[in-house]
């Protein structure tokens, strides 16, 4: 409903129709305000405020590092296990947060959805922007830690982070929109998503290496596992941050997964499909959001 649109729209139009995600470029200002609102509201009345975005991931990290790494011995098999763990962990946490909050976004904004027409895609996308706000400090910590361990940036490494980030965002937004639409009709969607986010952390190489799972899975399941966009994103993050800190690759059997290029291509296709499905489902049910909430 911004003014730029209206100048183009001289004739009659039907209210309540939008071009979906494509329409959001015209609402970038509102989007940034919604993000600010979310962040502000979440840390309202909190003394530490945004510092919590550092505390939570660091705590998760230390728990896994201590119990899985030291006590269960995962760090003996991996050089710089801390970097390995943290680079995978921030990727999956970014996905989980986006996915979970996208799913709840329509219900959380019920007051607005019921009363004022806005392209409803604004709400899931705003939560994605909030997740990015939380992602940056974690990325910063990871960078500092990696540099201490002898990390150097390379063109391919930066490209890998970008690609990983796009895969995570696309999958989370696509699936998030699908579940957000479902959540309007049945709140089971929210619980289902909680369940899925619990599984994702273990069904991708975050705490362990992909090569460890190969022996325990039938071949077809292993293939599915490797084509999973979350696995690809985690491996891309490992490639970007963990690899450069290992000077002596060969000693530790460091190799990229077999057919990694192929897996990435499949992942990209899966993400695109998920985005299309999410957007289509969202648009199909959008017309009934206001009356069902």
């Amino acid at each position: 409903m911004s003014n730029k649109v209206d100048k183009l729209r001289a004739g009659f139009y039907q209210p309540g129709r939008s071009k979906g995600l494509l329409d959001l470029f015209k609402h970038s200002y509102l989007l940034s305000l919604l993000r600010k609102k979310e962040v502000k509201v979440r840390y309202r009345g909190s003394f530490l405020g945004l510092i919590w975005t550092y505390i939570k991931p660091l705590t998760t990290f230390f728990i896994y590092y201590y119990f899985v790494g030291r006590i269960m011995g995962a760090d003996r098999a991996n050089e710089h296990y801390a970097i390995y763990l943290f680079s995978g962990l921030i990727s999956i946490q970014f996905f989980n947060e986006t996915f979970r909050n996208c799913t709840k976004s329509i219900r959380d904004n019920a007051a607005l959805v019921r009363k004022i027409y806005l392209p409803r895609e604004l709400f899931p996308i705003a939560t994605w922007r909030v997740a990015i706000t939380h992602f940056y400090p974690q990325l910063f910590i990871l960078l500092v830690a990696s540099i201490i361990q002898g990390w150097y940036p390379g063109f391919l490494h930066i490209l890998a982070v970008l690609l990983g980030f796009i895969l995570l965002s696309g999958l989370a937004i696509g699936a998030g929109m699908l579940f957000a639409a479902m959540n309007v009709f049945y709140r089971d969607a929210e619980n289902l998503v909680e369940l899925i986010t619990m599984i994702t952390t273990w069904f991708s190489p975050i705490l362990y290496k992909w090569s460890m799972i190969e022996q325990h899975m039938p071949l077809w399941l292993f293939k599915v596992y490797m084509c999973n966009p979350l696995t690809c994103a985690a491996e891309l993050f490992h490639y970007a941050f963990w690899w450069p800190t290992n000077i002596d690759f060969t000693n530790y059997g460091l190799s990229l997964p077999p057919h990694f290029g192929f897996d990435i291509c499949i992942s990209i296709i899966i993400v695109i499909l998920m985005m299309v499905i999410g957007q289509l489902a969202f648009r199909k049910f959008e017309g009934r959001f206001a009356q069902e909430l």
């Binding site: 003014n3 209206d6 209210p15 305000l33 502000k40 607005l112 806005l118 017309g287 206001a290 069902e292």
Partner: protein
Amino acid sequence: MNNKSLKNGNNKIDAKNAVIKIANVDKWFRLHHNYSLKDAFVNLFTHKKRDKSLFHALSNINFNINSGEAIGLVGINGSGKSTLLKCISGVIKPDKGKVSIKGRIAGLIEVGAGFHPDLTGRENIFLNGAILGMTKEQIIQKFDDIVEFSEIPQFIDSEVRFYSSGMFLRLAFAVAIHSDPDIFLIDEILAVGDAKFREKCLNRISELSKQGKTMVIVSHAEQQIRQLCQRAVWINKGKVQMDGPANEVLDAMNKFTGLKK
């Protein structure tokens, strides 16, 4: 003769200047929709059918609203006025028929819907301005006017949850009235605030109406409709019962419901 020619003249303008076209609009609501596994289980044993009853909220609504017209939608509670207004704003989609609009539309439907209690008055002005379709520049430009209109400049940097309900509505109304759309949708908001502020709002609305803004007003306050609108549409049980000059429609409605004027 004279009357007839006037009518024909009006019709010509109608076709030319319509900014809202409502054509064959139907809307049904499902009255019972939460269906859980437990319900399914219970129904299986009691042989009860799933309740699928539909409520026909709007049936075959047809009329146009012209540019610059102030039109009142009247009728008893549950007659479908607000549903129709929501169809016009795009919040809900009609199941049948079509609503077409020309120009930018903004609802004063339950002002303050986009307000968040944890944000300050200032932040809420920006957020709501953007929600109502204003650009950043427009909001900055009108910011002082909005604050002045609300008459609460001293609280503008306090969080809205510390506002009294009157203060809240003042600010919400001030933002909405400054959002400058071509078409205003107004739903029962003129009952807000103290008498003095209400008068100010009414004056502002009739000022905007004189400037040529199109208005669609839903209200139970008969006096306001008579004062602001030339035309009224009486909606009864989801159908247009009568469409004509505001005073005539209201008189007919009062006669129908047995109310004295």
